[in-house]
Amino acid sequence: MTSPVETLIAVLMAAILFGMPLGAYMARIYGGETFWATRALRPIEHFFYRLGGIHPEDEMDWKRYAIALLFFNLIGTLFLYGLLLWQHKLPLNPEHFAAVTHALAFNTAASFVTNTNWQAYGGESTMSYLSQMLGLAVQNFLSAATGIVIVLAIIRGIVRAKSRHLGNFWVDMTRTVLYVLLPLSVILGLVLLEQGAPQTLGAYVEAHLIAPFVSGKAYVTHQTIALGPVASQEAIKQLGNNGGGFFNANSAHPFESPTAFTNYLQMVAMILIPIALVFMFGYMTKDRRQSTMILSAMLVLFVPLALASMHYDLAANPLFHGLGLSQAHTAANAGGGDMVGVEDRFGAGSSALFGSVATATSTGAANSAYDSFMPLSGLVNLFFMQLGETAFGGVGTGLATMLAFVIFAVFLGGLMIGRTPEYLGKKIESFEIKMASLSILVMPLLVLIGTAVATAFAAGRAGTFNPGAHGFSEILYAFTSPSNNNGSAFGGLSADTTFYNVATGLCMLIGRYWSYLPLLALGGSLAAKQRLPASAGTLGAHGPLFVGLVVGVILLIGALNFFPALGLGPIAEQMTHVHALAASK
């Protein structure tokens, strides 16, 4: 039995240790350097350029970059939508699944293209192998790559001076998939395979039960065991912060995460690229202090919240005290704590940690039922997303949002020292504030308005399974997760209704493109600016003080907006528990 705190430290250390060289490697790839990796794969890279008629030297300004990105994602959405609608007529459908409904196909297409991977369906009972591999897995790669190129373009805007160009979208996409995502996925996929995850195109297996039983009025004699090309999909699901599981049970399913080691690896994989990008930012700006500053801010937000989540889940349900139930932290209790919805192999503490990592990184994977978390642990999940996915955030987009908050911090800090604010020598003026605001503004609006509409109308209220404040939390979660492109589900909500499919689908699309297109514009504007020399009078955007300012801005301008809603959801639920306990004594 490993202490979850030790697991937390081990996860962070591994992610930082591997993230640092990976960041340096990515900086070299995107810088167009020639070294062992490019020497090995350049012929393939250039083959794709010839195939697509792309001139790698032809750089784009932010508008062309954005149009290329939108066009590419639109094609991806339409392709996936069509694939899902026609899956019953296409090959690789051994279980003969029917076509997906229009609303669900729209929701799923929007979900996988936007890197949300909100799943309003159960994978093993809905999707053909072709849909899983050609549809979902392909988008797992492309949506992750899209996130990375967004922040890449923004970073180029910060690094370059007096230039209109942010790079070539097609080149950046190709390099991301070819040099970063594919190799990492192959490695992780092989490890998962070795640990026991299946990888097959064969049909599901029928197992005859040794001890048949009666369920309802049916006499159950055999069980269907779902299989499929799991290992390959699982690797990119975690690395690309996608989170869309092959199976409905996601990473709690023994075929998705066969061992404690894969559980650990999956957590490392979720934070790996977000942290590597932070290091890449430092290498690209040639200012390593930026990496330290941003990583520190992320850790300052992440570690206490993750610890809190683990604490409350391990503290277990107060209402069970006095009922003669042991919730002690013993191996016999599978680690003890709140065991509802928890996979015995992982235990409550590690499940809370996995939940924190999955919500903090916009992965949205799950190795337990988040709906059954203790209220304040569920709150931590919600809060990580409501931070705007800044610590650590989705691949690329997390750092992008973080940079938007850094720009706010620089703006306030710059004014407080009496200068027109500047970040790394680039003046932050009204256009930058406008774009950063547009980007930050949309997420709280989507979450709050979405939740308000759902609570106000019967179609929204119909979904909740639980009474009381918990039902409210379920609705709040159902809008927080898609709007932040996280994709994790609280569960306890029947999300496959036309209302939720359309509403959450819209949240995913708006939350993705409205948040990040303004940041591309911001990158374009920064690229055009002159770089100002630093002096003792300029705000040094690093050091503990500035980290504190960034964290303060994220909490005050970002997360504080959700305080009333959280008050009526998980906080009310927890307080009521405590209240009830006090009353019973």
Binding site: M416, G418, I449, A456, A469, I571
Partner: protein, 691 residues
Amino acid sequence: MNAKAAHAVPTVAWDRLAQAALIDSIRKLNLRHQLRNPVMFVVYVGSWLVLALFVRDLVIHKPALATFTGVVDVWLWLTLLFANFSESLAEGQGKAQAASLRQARKEVEAKRLQEVREDSPFEMVTGLALRPGDHVLVGAGDIIPSDGEAVLGVASVDESAITGESAPVIREGAGDRSAVTGGTKVLSDWLVVRITAQPGETFLDRMITMVEGASRRKTPNEIALGILLVVLTLVFLVVTITLFPFSWYSVHYAAHAGRVVGITVLVALLVCLIPTTIGALLPAIGIAGIMRLLRANVVATSGRAIEAAGDVDVLFLDKTGTITYGNRQAAAFHAVTGVAEARLAACARQASLADGTPEGKSIVTLAGARFPQEIAAAGDTKGGVLVPFSADTRMSGVDLPGRQIRKGAPDAMRQWVAKAGGTWPDGLDRIVDKVASGGATPLVVCEDGVALGVVELKDIVKSGIRERFAALRTMGIRTVMVTGDNPLTARAIATEAGVDDFIAEAKPEAKLARIQEYHKEGHMVAMTGDGTNDAPALAQADVALCMASGTQAAREAANMVDLDSNPTKLLEIVGIGKQLLITRGSLTTFSVANDVAKYFAIIPAAFVSTYPALGALNIMHLSSPTHAILAAVIFNAVIIPLLIPLALRGVRYRAAAAKDLLRRNIWIYGVGGIIAPFVGIKLIDMFLTWI
């Protein structure tokens, strides 16, 4: 300077000003004025809404509810009034200033000349009829009708109406003292003035519009901050509006208890959350910045220039007057071998007797002090012909019967000696170099083609200037000394004064080129200037301060005019610019940080009826939900007048490195902004319970 400043900006009669501001702030409650400030407009709409609810509560006879709604509404209106009051108070100062300036802009009759000479026939026209290019004659007692340039004549002019300086100044045709300002008064003699300003666009008009219109023009940082405030307001608007369905759901579907949160409470929460503190004080801060500049006797032609002053990181400072005391003083005589020092002194004195410059006078004084007997023997220069200094010859002196005495720059003298067929002694160059390398200026003295030696003129660096430059350096501001001296002299003074860089033998083009160089590297440059030939450089600089005594061209090119003509003013202006930004930034941080406490006051109060357990969030232990909401609203309102003095005076600013300033302001306004409302709201709650 203080006495002058008091004149330029009339001593503010605070009680009168406050009274006028009070009336004005009620007048400002009209829709059109409120629309200009989006944050306060939300409060305005909320106040009307709650007023309507109050009337409804009265009509349906719910006295307890009506009392609560009424009291909240009163405080919402007070919030608006406090905001208006701060702006009116700041504007009031400006209005007083504008009124005194306007007195100077009286309609005057002008004598428009037909030809450009003093005795030309003229016609009487009104000042408004004058166009650029017209020539007018102004005599003793006349008010100069418009801005212009003196082309003929010399006159003493009283410019106190503009500068507050009561001592008259000399204005004369041609040269660097030719600029005259409309509204000033000729005391003696006459001038022929060529008008250079369109009617209504004179310096005085610009000053008045600057002072009066201070609130209307927004600077770039103000615009950016405005966007941020609007966005915050929008988000909080959605936060509070969505709270209604959330509460409704919780009451009817989740807890099945309590009452749905009332509109009054939601409006109260909204007003508390949106950044009203900074929204209310923002106009006042901007106006106060301009007023502080005016109090320093500097007129900026745009608010943008004040902000730019905060960003400046390179200062071009004229050596003379800024770094050193006005003029060089004779410090020593260095005779060449074979010449008595007394002879050198006597000749130098004779060459300087007719030289009215401070340098010339200092030579006479030094010679008289060192060699009184020899001087008496040499006699004065009666009967001699004075040779004044000219830019061509770069020397001056006197022609006595049979003798020619000259003093001047070494290279000019060398040419003169060579032309006269004289000798240039061996040791002279060494003396010249030695003097020059010590930072002093060598003047070579010659008699009839024989070089006698060198007079050492020394610059005296102002006391305390070194420390000031050191302070600027910690702020990240580079100082560049601009001087006409040779590089050796310049280097020595630069070292002594502690400037970072210098431009020696500075010609206007050299200044311009150096500014462009700094711009290319991304620096922001401030400079002072007064001559016409400074105009191109002034136009290029980001902050260009022109002396009030400067020429019209220089004034046009500059974006600030220093009425005191004090070149060290630039240092003060940088401080004012920074203070303006710091005040805005700090109060914004304070305003946003306040929200934490307000949430903790209002959220438990609003929902405790639905979820009694949420009472645990009432960490301030406020006495009742009603009191909690009232206390938050009252705190939100009274913090505005409490911060007015800070907004008008500006946050305390001292020269320090960025990280020290940031630490200080984050602690005071960020952390302090989180803590202060907890204390304030609790105190107000205790007071409410007590009454």
